[in-house]
């Protein structure tokens, strides 16, 4: 799994940080920062949940084979 996030569209909901704090953080202004672009397997459900909950759909996941 590869994770990217678009800081320009991020609206600072903080939802991703609450759902997957190991993977997402926020800068001083609150915009999303991806800590782990290739999260380990056990975090995948939380990351998918974060992506689905993002109010501006700013989180992109690419699943590898």
């Amino acid at each position: 799994m590869r994770v990217t996030a678009d800081r320009d569209t991020c609206t600072v909901s903080s939802l991703c940080v609450y759902r997957a704090p190991e993977v997402f953080d926020q800068d001083e202004d609150g915009h999303v920062v991806v800590l782990r672009p290739d999260p380990p397997e056990h975090l995948h459900p939380a990351v998918r949940d974060a992506a689905r909950s993002c109010p501006t759909r700013s989180i992109r996941i690419t699943e590898e084979e």
């Binding site: 609206t11 600072v12 903080s14 704090p21 609150g30 689905r52």
Partner: protein, 400 residues
């Protein structure tokens, strides 16, 4: 053709999800009549509601001075329509960014002990007082206003005066019209004074942060915007949260078995809070009123015509059978609960993380420190405030 539905939908009986929400999604949009008598088109399905919250073709500029044909919510309400404020991009993004800095997960978590302290204090006062008591008065209203005071940097000694002005301005307390007007002016003046004192002695609060942004770069925030947004945080964040704390607690107490389930496993608190947010919308969606600046097609092929006033029904989206299995069932263990109660897109509730944190702390504190807490009247007789922005229970007599 049948006559348009009246909106907001009545909550009768008060503990049941309004009947009008059943079957509403057969059509992607229905015409409704607002309390003012004006009509608006209400969007009903989750997918459309979610997409339209993020759609620039719907403007939030609903000032009738600029758009004379926009629907009015009630005949005299201009709460969200200040002609000097542009609620659409690019102005909106600029100002919103300054405000949302205060609501990062880190800053919200820093306020968690503050909220906990307030809860402990309020519950101790309840225990020392008489029974039954009104949960709204004793707990649900004081909690968010104190947290907002801390957030804005309102000094402790001003707290009571501040709450009096805010309550009068937002008609929390029923006051004569002239006194409400005095509160409105008093609050505007107080915010000016607060800004002046923070300019002299900045703190680590939100108002000081906004002033810093304004004074360092005049283009970033006008004096008027500074006051408007500070006041806006009160409008958006106080009664909404208070009403939800009261309503969600009342619903839990009405379902004793849920209280016991939570008391046996505190890790259920967050999902219970989300489910109560989903089903127990403490307000209608009148606050989502928007204006179509272009034609917009919906999922069933209907087209919202340019110039239409549009409501995005959070409560109908939250009951969408396509998204939520058994939507009319209260399931405090529900997963994948991406409800629309805080909106979506660019305008997603700036205070959502704060409201969630307060609801979690409030729910656990009440059920833990007052384990026998219960309604002092039958739940289906609790009075609701209907027809407004917030429709929670106007009084919640409880005992323990």
């Amino acid at each position: 053709m049948t006559a348009p539905l009246s909106y907001p939908f009545p909550w009768t009986p008060p503990m049941e999800i309004p009947d009008a929400l059943r079957g509403l999604r057969d059509q992607a949009a229905v015409t409704v009549t607002l309390p003012s008598g004006d009509r608006a088109l209400m969007v009903t399905r989750y997918a459309d509601v979610r997409a339209l919250f993020a759609d620039h073709r719907l403007s939030r500029n609903i000032s009738r001075r600029q758009r004379p044909d926009v629907a009015r919510i009630s005949a005299d309400n201009e709460l969200f329509a200040d002609p000097e404020i542009n609620p659409d991009p690019p102005d909106h993004i600029r100002v919103r960014g300054l405000v949302t800095r205060a609501f990062t997960a880190r800053r919200v978590e820093a306020l968690r002990p503050v909220a906990q302290g307030v809860c402990d204090e309020l519950i101790a006062a309840m225990k020392a007082g008489t029974r039954p008591t009104d949960l709204n008065e004793a707990f649900a209203y004081p909690l968010p206003i104190r947290v907002i005071c801390r957030l804005l940097g309102v000094p402790l000694e001003d707290r009571d005066r501040f709450r009096y002005l805010v309550d009068g301005f937002l008609s929390v307390t029923k006051l004569p019209v002239e006194e409400m007007q005095r509160c409105r002016e008093g609050l505007w003046q107080y915010l000016g004074e607060l800004i002046d004192s923070k300019r002299e002695q900045p703190g680590d609060d939100l108002v000081s942060g906004l002033i810093k942004a304004r004074d360092e770069d005049n283009n970033r925030l006008s004096e008027h915007e500074l006051r408007f947004w500070t006041q806006g945080l009160l409008i958006a964040g106080y009664v909404t949260t208070a009403s939800q704390i009261g309503a969600s607690t009342a619903v839990l107490l009405h379902h004793r078995e849920l209280v016991e389930e939570i008391q046996a496993d505190w890790s259920l608190v967050p999902s219970a809070v989300e489910e109560l947010l989903r089903t127990q919308i403490m307000g209608s969606s009148v606050g989502t009123l928007r204006y179509a600046v272009e034609d917009i097609p919906l999922s069933d092929g209907t087209v919202i015509a340019k110039g239409t006033s549009v409501l995005l029904s959070e409560e109908s989206a939250n009951m969408d059978e396509e998204v939520f299995p058994e939507p009319f069932r209260l399931d405090i263990r529900r997963t994948d609960n991406h409800h629309m109660t805080f909106g979506a897109g660019l305008h997603y509730c700036a205070g959502a993380a704060l409201a969630r944190m307060e609801l979690q702390v409030a729910t656990r504190s009440l059920l833990e420190q007052l384990p026998d807490l219960r309604l002092a009247v039958p739940g289906d007789r609790l009075p609701r405030g209907l027809g407004g922005f917030t429709e929670g229970f106007t009084e919640i007599p409880v005992t323990w």
